[in-house]
Amino acid sequence: MTRKPHQREYWRSLSELADDPRLLEAINDEFDGYDPQEFTGVSRRSFVKLMAASMALAGISLTGCRRWPQQKIAPYTLRPAGREPNTRQQYATMLARSGIAHSLLVSTFEGRPIKVEGNPQHPIAQGRTDALAQASILELYDPFRSRGLEHQDERATWADFADWLKQRMQQRGRGVAVLCEANDSPALAAIRRKLDQDSPDLNWYTWDPLHRDNATAGSRAAFGKTLRPQYHLDKAKVIVSLDADLLGATDPAMLRHARDWAAGRRSADSDGQMNRLYVAESSLTLTGSVADERHPATLAQIIELTQAIKSTVDSNFEFRFSEFGLHLVGDMNIHHGESLVIAGESLPPQVHHLVWQINHALGAIGNTVTLTTEPDYELPYTQQIADLVSKINGNLVDTLIIIGGNPVYDAPADLDFAAALGKLKQSAHLSLYPNETSALCTWRLPRAHDFEAWGDGRSWDGVHCLRQPLIYPLFDGRSEIQLAAMLTGDAEPDGEKLVKEALTEDDAAWRSCVRAGFVEGSQAKAVDTGPRADAIVLPPSAKTEGFELHFAGDISVYDGRHAANAWMQETPDPLSKLTWDNAALLNIADARKLGIEQGDVLKISVGQASIEIAAYLMPGQAAGTITLPLGYGRKVAGEVGADVGFDVYPLRDTAGQAVAHGAKVENTHRRYKLAMTSEHYLIDGIGARATRQRLGEPHQSGLLLKETTLDEYRRDPHFAERGEHGDVHLQMFEAPSQFNDPHAWGMSIDLNACTGCGACVVACQSENNIPVVGKDQVLMHRQMQWLRIDRYFKTDEKDEHAENPEVVHMPMMCQQCENAPCEQVCPVGATTHDAEGLNVMVYNRCIGTRYCSNNCPYKVRRFNYFDFHSKPVRGLAKPWLGIPDQQQLVQVDQIKRLLFNPDVTVRMRGVMEKCTYCVQRIAAAKTEHRIEAVKAGDHKHRVLPEGAVQTACQQVCPTQAITFGNLNDPKAKVTQQHKTPRAYGVLAEMNTRPRTKYLALVRNPNI
């Protein structure tokens, strides 16, 4: 204000005061560009005009007569130590799956964990996670989890259970058996050592449906003891996978494999070299989808191929098998010590032994693969559970305590575990969710979620990881080690003490380990050994009649344990793009022969057992094989997971855990609706032709996708710039607007590194409060994920039935066009540009005309057709009679809402949304950076340094395919990537000027 403080002002009327030129001037200074009159006087006419309009609109729009929700805010009188309100804190912890620990860093906000990241220090995680780890947080806040103890359908307490257990354990554990899921916890091992002393008659068994029985048996045959292979794909120039899905979700070391494999692809830009991945497999997997040479084959064919490789390697590489085998063997010959052969779990133990011999001959052992001791895998799990069942049937066991898992659902079908369990008078099941097993047990014990309890485990490389609780157990759950400790007679076991005792006595060391999340330097030591050179007798080849069934862990629900996880259910399978279902994956030629269409319900039978399952015509499936994804068709899995898809476990017996032979297929001619997020493969001729033109022929560029081979790339590094309308430098019009901020955010996505694993999709869903829509809505194409991975198949003209397609994974999200078509058409200006080049959404301004989506050439905008957070996953959306924007306040579950990221608006119905380059993370980084700068005495505006902000998708990506940063910073990685010749903008010829660029695909086929 320009007025002097003591100067006297006289005025006769309000209008005279209002007309004071100094006042107007002051207003003019403060609100530049506004008419100062608006702030001072109002004429009678305009007053009446505005009042009338306001009254009318207040009446029309409901906003005038609403009651705003009341919320009470209370400050702390005493703030707990270390608690800073409204800030995020990160804690290192872990979660275990099939006995393998994954080290994590979990963000909590005001005491509630809200986002999972990988632990940056851990040698395998290196800050990355897979999709399942991202989604694990949803299960923490699932209202359908086990809530409280139940004994014979009545409420009970842990004290009741402890009394009962004490009684059962009186006779040194006689008659008591424990069936535990795979677990490699040092604390549990310590408890078991104690149990072995105190209760030697206790029987302890382990079962996990996605076990490694064949691999471990093969390793025992080859080395005389169970060894665990540690693959070093970054050192390998030639990688051969024999039905092994190295990059798939079920591989315990997927993160390391993906990173190392991608490192071997990136070198194409620097030294013109690339690794070459050969894959022989029955069904198209993620590994096969990024293979340079892929060979679809049945199990027998793969075994034959392995033998051929072996004899070729033995006879100085003078053997010809098939084109694929020829290429492969030729490559191996050149790259001695830089090749690696990897056998998958579907191959019998003898073939694993054979592969170890090949690796030995290739000089791989010690170079591209090292061996460490496999902890605790004395007996195959299949044998352990069979032993347990025979003991129950022989009445040698009367009490069974099941720790985790779901054996009633997933045990080998011929054992009939449910019947055995039914014979027992006493049984207890510790479980995160009520499931098929707990339904049959007398005691139902709620299990603490991984983020609720102390624990430990070892990651694939043997590193001792620690798990610390981030929140008090929501539903009175206890962890697996607490339950095991209760067997030793401890009624109130202290998880922290158990974990600490197994690790160290030293408090300071303990604290630093908890802080880091793992024990530094605890990697397993490499064992220097070679395989036995015995001649190997292969098992007689299986019956050739009928189909060969492959059972595969599912990328979304794993073995069925994540069936209740709606995020995973809705994450499309990377290759079939199927959500909320599994299906029998069939070879297309086979299906045509049998007259099977997509979605036909098939009756598949092996011997006496049979199941019904919908058919999916899968490109790349080997002829004569059918792949059955495990983990669906759950009967008891809460509101979300029950009756989703088809249960295939009834076909999986003790002998055929990985592969079953001689299956018969019948078409029931009933139809089943499969919800795919993209279904372009099996479309009409005209669509298929256009798709071919847009994506190009195999190994060639199309309109949308630029790709080439390594040889071509060396010859013509600028291939990505070729093509129709490639040159958009000559413009009739000026650039649309000036971006005058020191930040210019941009992204690059390396198509060469993307494996399509989907971790980014779930990370984005978790970070941005993206709702789940349910199968009926996916069928209507209303899925909400902001980031999708476009999967395209490319086939040769000759390959009529797409037996061996080339696959492209193209992550697609908002491209943040500088010249954004969406912005121009929004009638209320709800989507606009900021100075940093972000195309931002103003959610509370959006009225939902959906014009922006129509005008978006990338179709990356998502619309809230219903209030999806309130809508049940199944069933219709119910009418909401209250004020619309209060719907979520009432209808979203009280526990579920604890998950919401407070930095991101929870969108209501009728609002458009899309990727924002994680604008909340940019804002948070700026605030933090500015506080630091001010503390350091620097009050000027500062530019964020490279790496200060990472988008959620970038942070999680196992292969670091996504790069994000400031394009104004010439040294930033993203700027450099935008300048590489491989960089191109999708649909840049539309002059959208996208800020996201793709690095074109380079494949390395052996031509």
């Binding site: 479309i683 669509g687 994506l695 121009q824 200006g829 014009y851 050439p857 179709k859 057709y865 609002v911």
Partner: protein, 492 residues
């Protein structure tokens, strides 16, 4: 050299359909004078409606009720009750909107443009054609309002001053739509009402019960038929006609911008404004015929809405149909000629893709079916006329379906391609919008003068006792002495 025989066979009673150049066909047939016209028209508003009216009204009212229930369901639940999805985020509501706006064209065209062009035959049909316009625009205006995701905030589309200084985004064609349709609705309503004032006064004067006397009394604005009143009336009517004329062209041009301004192949096309206007007139005349053919029969107005009126409307349809045909062909030609992959694909996909059935329905209904009107017999028989009109009604709806759905369902990235399936709510609302339209139309038929009585009288021979049949002045006479006629205004 032969001599031209100038002796024609002149039929004794050439009727209303004659094309004999030596005489003009009368615009009102039969033995009618001013009184009989007044009686025929005013009686409709005065008598207890016939049974067919009650049946029709019952059906229409039920459908209108259905519409209201569905709107309630929609607002309370979310726009997901429709079949719209991503990528097809505009579906039935926008198709219906464009369809109804198109229908709303013919009324103003007939009343304003034909008025300025001195097409006196318009007087028989202009009143109910304008009513049709008003109600069609009501149907149309409703759809964008409920189409938005948060309908309770739809008023943000209007430039209302507010404390946040947040204005609409003026580059958006949707906003232009708001202005164009809003202006059109306002001017059409005024035009219709102003034109109706003398006739409302007639009804007032004839009214026998107190209620209708008061109601018509208020509506007729104190009209007493003085020369001054007529003078002002004629002036106002002319000005409104001049205002409405550009609107006929502008409103559908602006509606077409919703599509043409977008960069989506199949929408992004400069031909859209004239193409849409021609299509709108085409569809509008079809609806006029659809209403006029039964109405003249059921109301006994064959002598005022004559066969010649129907015949003329058919000719307009034939003409605009040709423009539409030309537009369709041009679109395909340009798609081919541009050499642009995405553009070519959209048109190929329309004709041979999964929505080919809709495309060929449109082609049959818009281009093939109405060609029967080339035949005189078809134009002069209600069956032929109704067949053509119904074809165009269906065809024009499908034209919008084809434009909206087939362009969106397969655009650039094949990963996002999807099919659109309407839900029962979509179909219910389409039916319900007809309910809204017919409810109001039937009420109009019952309570208001369906024929512009005052205007019809000006084109009757009785109005021109000293002149030719169509009011042209005979030599030596000043026609203005006798009639309030646009010629008069112009001559001054």
């Amino acid at each position: 050299m032969t001599t031209l025989d100038l002796q024609y066979d002149t039929p004794a009673n050439p009727g209303n359909l004659t094309d004999d150049p030596r005489q003009r066909a009368p615009l009102v047939t039969g033995d009618n004078d001013f009184t009989s016209v007044t009686n025929k028209v005013a009686r409709l508003a005065e008598k207890w409606p016939d049974l067919w009216w009650w049946v029709a009204f019952f059906i229409a009212l039920n459908l209108f009720g259905l519409l209201q229930v569905l709107i309630g369901y929609l607002v309370l639940t979310g726009v997901g009750v429709w079949g719209n999805n991503q990528p097809v985020s505009w579906g039935f509501p926008i198709i219906n909107f464009v369809f109804w706006v198109g229908i709303g064209h013919a009324g103003t065209l007939i009343s304003a443009i034909l008025y300025l062009f001195r097409q006196n035959w318009r007087t028989g049909i202009n009143r109910f054609a304008e009513a049709m316009t008003i109600f069609a625009v009501m149907c149309a205006g409703m759809f964008p309002g409920i189409h938005v995701g948060r309908p309770w905030l739809a008023y943000w589309l209007f430039p209302i001053p507010n404390q946040m200084d947040a204005w609409p985004q003026f580059r958006s064609p949707l906003l232009w739509d708001v202005f164009a349709v809003g202006t059109y609705a306002t001017v059409s309503l005024l035009f219709w009402y102003v034109g109706m004032v003398p006739d409302l006064a007639t009804l007032r004067d004839r009214a026998t019960n107190r209620l209708s006397q008061i109601a018509y009394g208020i509506l007729s604005l104190g009209w007493c038929g003085s020369s001054r009143h007529w003078h002002r009336f004629e002036r106002a009517y002319l000005i409104l006609a001049a205002l409405a004329t550009p609107l006929v062209l502008s409103v559908h041009s602006v509606v077409s911008f919703d599509f043409a301004v977008a960069q989506l192949p199949g929408w992004h096309s400069t031909i859209f404004p004239p193409y849409f206007v021609a299509g709108a007139i085409y569809g509008g005349f079809a609806m006029v015929i659809t209403l006029a053919v039964p109405a003249r029969k059921l109301f006994g107005l064959e002598e005022i809405i004559t066969e010649r009126h129907i015949d003329n409307a058919c000719r307009v349809m034939l003409g605009t149909g040709m423009i539409v045909f030309y537009a369709y062909s041009t679109e395909f030609f340009i798609a081919w000629y541009s050499g642009e992959h995405y553009e070519r694909f959209v048109f190929l996909n329309r004709a041979t893709g999964p929505y080919a059935w809709a495309f060929w329905t449109m082609i049959f209904c818009n281009l093939i079916g109405p060609q029967v009107l080339w035949f005189r017999q078809a134009r002069h028989h209600w069956l032929g006329v109704m067949f053509a009109a119904m074809c165009v009604n269906v065809g024009m709806w499908f034209e919008r379906f084809v434009i909206v759905i087939t362009s969106l369902h397969r655009d650039f990235l094949p990963s996002s391609w999807a099919m659109f399936h309407p839900t029962w709510v979509d179909l219910g609302m389409l039916a319900g919008s007809f309910g809204l339209f017919f409810t109001f139309f039937l009420l109009f038929c019952k309570f208001l003068p369906v024929i512009a009585m005052a205007e019809v009288k000006t084109v009757m021979p009785q109005a021109h006792a000293h002149s030719g049949e169509h009011g042209e002045a005979l030599p030596g006479e000043d026609a203005a002495d006798y009639r309030p006629d646009p010629h008069w205004v112009e001559r001054r």
